[in-house]
Point group: C2
Chain length 394, copies 2
C-alpha cells in the first residue's frame, strides 16, 4: 500500500450517498430510467431561475479587462461581497460589510476553510445527529474531533445534551438549518437557548465557543416558516452558505462564509479565512459565478415546486403507514425505518427499485433519507413500492 | 487567541506575493497606475483566446437538463476527462482513458487533493528550490514534511542532491516545469536522470516514490522548447495541470490531475483522489468550465506576446547589468539580486515604484522574481528604475 493509510482505511465507509447514486445509474441502465425511483442524492431537479440564465449569458458575453483573472483579494470581488453583506443586514439587522463576507467554493468549501482556520489538533466540534456525514471528514481533515450529540424526538436541538459535552477542548458547535436529512428548521427559541448556553459556558470557561451554521437550504422553506438569523442570535457566529440549492447549481461550487461583525478575535479570524482559502488550494471562488450571484441576491428557484413534492410524498407515505416528522424546509424526508435495521430496509426498498440512503449514513440508525428533489412522477410511481416494502415487514 | 494556533503563527510569513500585490494597489492609488510597475503576481494580462470566449458564450446559452448540477462522478464529466486523456496520449504515446483524469479546482486544488491522497503524517516530499512557496503549505496541510533540495547553477535538477535526501519516509518528489519562478524547463535528459534515480531507489527500498509534476505553464514555452512528458519518462508519475495560464483564466479555478496508467497502486490512488476531491470540499471542479475546456484542448493564448515581453525585459535588464538565466517558458524571470540581501534590494526597487518578489519567498535568497505578464509599457517604462536601482548598489 502506497497511498495514505488513513485514506485507504476510509474506502470501506466511503459515501453511502454517492454509492447509492452510482447504484442508481446501474439500475437505470438495466430497467430503464422510468422504472427506477432514485431518491439517493440532493441534486436539485428544479431548473435554475430564468434570471440566473439571463445573468449567466450576460456575464459570459461581458467584455472587461482581467475578467477571468485573479481578483485583488482571495476573499473575492468586493461588489459581490458587499451585495451579500447588504442582504444579510436586511435579515439580521446587523452591520456587515464586504470584509465580513468571504466567497467560497460552495458550503463544503466554506466549512473546510472555517475548520482549517479554527482548529488545532484535538479541538472538538459538537454536531447534533442526524447530520450530513461529510462533516466528520471536514473536521477530521484538520485534526479536529467530532462530538456527536443527540437531538429531541422531533430532531430539534437538545441543548441539555449539548451542555453535557462542552469542555475545555470545545472550539465550535456546527448546526445545519434547514437540516439535511430531517428537513427541520430550528425555532427561534431553540436557537436562543443554544446561544444562551454557549454564552454562559464561554463566560464560565473564559473561552470562545463558535457557532457555525451550515445554511445551503435557508431559502428552501415551506408554509411561511422563517429560518431564524444565527448572526442575530449569537455574537460568535459564522454562516456557511451555498447557492447550490437556492439557484440549483451545485456543480458550479459557489457560496460564501459570513462572519458576525461582533465576533471575538474577528480580525484574526477574517485574516485566517483568507489565508486558508488560499493554502487549501481554493485560491478564490470561481470568478464568473461570483459576478453572476452578485446580481441575484433576491432570486431563488420556485420553492412551491418542492413544496408540492413534499406534500405528495408525505401524503403517500402516511397512507402507507410510514412515520416521520414533516419537513419544514430543504428537500429531504427522514422517516423511521419500519424495522430496526435501516440498512436491511434500504435493501428491501432496493428490490422495489427504490433508492434511498440508510439513517446510519447520517449517524442515526433506524431511519432512512428520501431526497425528494425528483420528478413528481418518480414520487407518484414509487408509492406502490414503498407500500409493498412496509407490508413485507409486517 | 481563539483561532487555530498554527494558522495564527503563519500570519507573519503569509504570502509575500500577495503582500506585494496589495502594496501595488496602494501605490497605484497614490501615484497613478501608469507610474507603478507591478511585477508582483502571475495574473496573466493576455486576454483569453477568442475560441474560449465563443465556447463560454455557447455553454452559457446551452439548454440541457441538470446543466449546473452535480455530475455522476466527483471526478468530473466523462467527456471532458476523455478529451484530456486523448490529448495527453498524443503527446506521451501512453494509453490514458477518462478514468486516469480527475478534474480539479486549478493546479492548487489538484496538488492539495494529490497530497491528501498520498501523505500520512511525517511522510516526506522532496522539492527543488527555488519553488512556489505555497507548496510548503499544501504539503503541511496533510502532515507531510517538505525536504528542500538545491538545484544546479542554471536551476536544472540536481539529481545527486535529490538522491542524498531520499529515505524510507520519502513519498514523492514534486517538480514544476516550466518553473515558477525561474522559467526553466527541465530537459529530457534531466528528467530521465531523475526517473532513473527514483526507479533505482524504489527498487532498492522496495517502495514507491511518486513523481508529481505541477505543469500549469506547459503550454507557455518559447523558441520551440519542448516540455518533456513526465508520464512517458517515469511510471509512477502524476501531473497537476491548470488552464489558468493556457487560457488566461486563473480566477475560474479549472484544471486536472492526470495519473500514469502504469502507476503502482493505481486503482487505490484513483479512488483516493476522487474521495479527497469530495472530502476536501471541492466536491467537483466547476461544471460550466469543465464543459468549456473540453472543447479547447488545442487552444491557447498567444504565446508570442509573452515571448516579446521576455525579450524586451531580458534585453533591458542585461543592458542595465543584471545577471539571470534566460527563461524558456512561463512568464517569470529570476535575476540575481545585485546585493546579497534580496529583501533589501526589493525595497530599493520599491522606491522606484517597481514591485517584485524577493527570492527568499521562493526559498532562494539572493534573487528576486519578476512576473512579466504585464503591459509592454510597464516593462519599457520600468527600465529606468531598474537601472537606477542597480546603480545605487554600486
Amino acid at each position: 500500500m502506497s497511498i495514505s493509510k488513513k485514506i485507504k482505511a476510509s474506502f470501506a465507509q466511503s459515501s453511502m450517498i454517492r454509492k447509492m447514486f452510482s447504484e442508481g445509474a446501474v439500475l437505470k441502465k438495466k430497467f430503464g430510467a422510468d422504472k427506477v425511483f432514485d431518491f439517493s442524492i440532493g441534486n436539485p431537479n428544479v431548473e435554475p431561475p430564468e434570471a440566473f440564465k439571463k445573468e449567466l449569458i450576460n456575464a459570459a458575453a461581458q467584455i472587461i479587462p482581467n475578467k477571468h483573472g485573479y481578483m485583488p483579494n482571495n476573499a473575492g470581488y468586493m461588489e459581490t461581497r458587499q451585495a451579500i453583506a447588504e442582504k444579510i443586514n436586511k435579515k439580521s439587522g446587523l452591520k456587515l460589510n464586504s470584509d465580513h463576507v468571504i466567497m467560497s467554493c460552495g458550503a463544503a468549501g466554506a466549512l473546510n476553510v472555517i475548520f482549517k482556520s479554527l482548529l488545532d489538533p484535538q479541538d472538538e466540534v459538537i454536531v447534533p445527529i442526524p447530520f450530513f456525514m461529510e462533516y466528520a471528514s471536514y473536521i477530521d481533515n484538520f485534526g479536529g474531533i467530532i462530538k456527536k450529540v443527540k437531538t429531541q424526538a422531533d430532531f430539534s436541538l437538545d441543548v441539555t445534551a449539548i451542555a453535557a459535552v462542552i469542555n475545555e477542548k470545545t472550539k465550535a458547535v456546527l448546526i445545519n438549518t434547514p437540516n439535511n436529512p430531517t428537513g427541520i428548521v430550528y425555532s427561534e427559541k431553540n436557537i436562543a437557548d443554544l446561544a444562551r448556553l454557549l454564552t454562559e459556558k464561554g463566560k464560565a470557561m473564559n473561552k470562545t465557543i463558535y457557532l457555525i451554521s451550515d445554511e445551503p437550504y435557508s431559502e428552501i422553506v415551506y408554509d411561511d416558516v422563517i429560518v431564524p438569523s444565527i448572526l442575530k442570535a449569537y455574537k460568535n457566529s459564522i454562516i456557511a452558505y451555498s447557492y447550490s440549492k437556492t439557484l440549483s447549481l451545485p456543480g458550479e461550487r459557489i457560496g460564501y462564509i459570513a462572519v458576525n461583525p461582533e465576533i471575538e478575535y474577528g480580525s484574526d479570524l477574517l485574516n485566517a479565512l483568507i489565508i486558508c482559502t488560499r493554502i487549501l488550494g481554493y485560491v478564490n471562488a470561481p470568478a464568473l459565478m461570483q459576478r453572476v450571484v452578485a446580481k441575484l441576491q433576491d432570486t431563488k428557484v420556485d420553492v412551491d415546486v418542492y413544496k408540492r413534492k413534499r406534500d405528495l410524498l408525505c401524503a403517500g407515505l402516511e397512507k402507507a403507514g410510514y412515520k416521520f416528522t414533516r419537513p419544514m424546509g430543504a428537500f429531504y424526508l427522514f422517516p423511521q425505518s419500519p424495522i430496526p435495521d435501516d440498512e436491511e430496509f434500504v435493501k428491501m426498498l432496493l428490490k422495489k427499485n427504490i433508492l434511498v440512503v440508510p439513517g446510519s449514513a447520517f449517524g442515526t440508525p433506524g431511519y432512512f433519507r428520501i431526497a425528494y428533489c425528483v420528478d413528481d412522477a418518480t414520487i407518484v410511481n414509487s408509492m406502490e413500492g414503498f407500500a409493498e416494502a412496509i407490508n413485507d415487514t409486517r
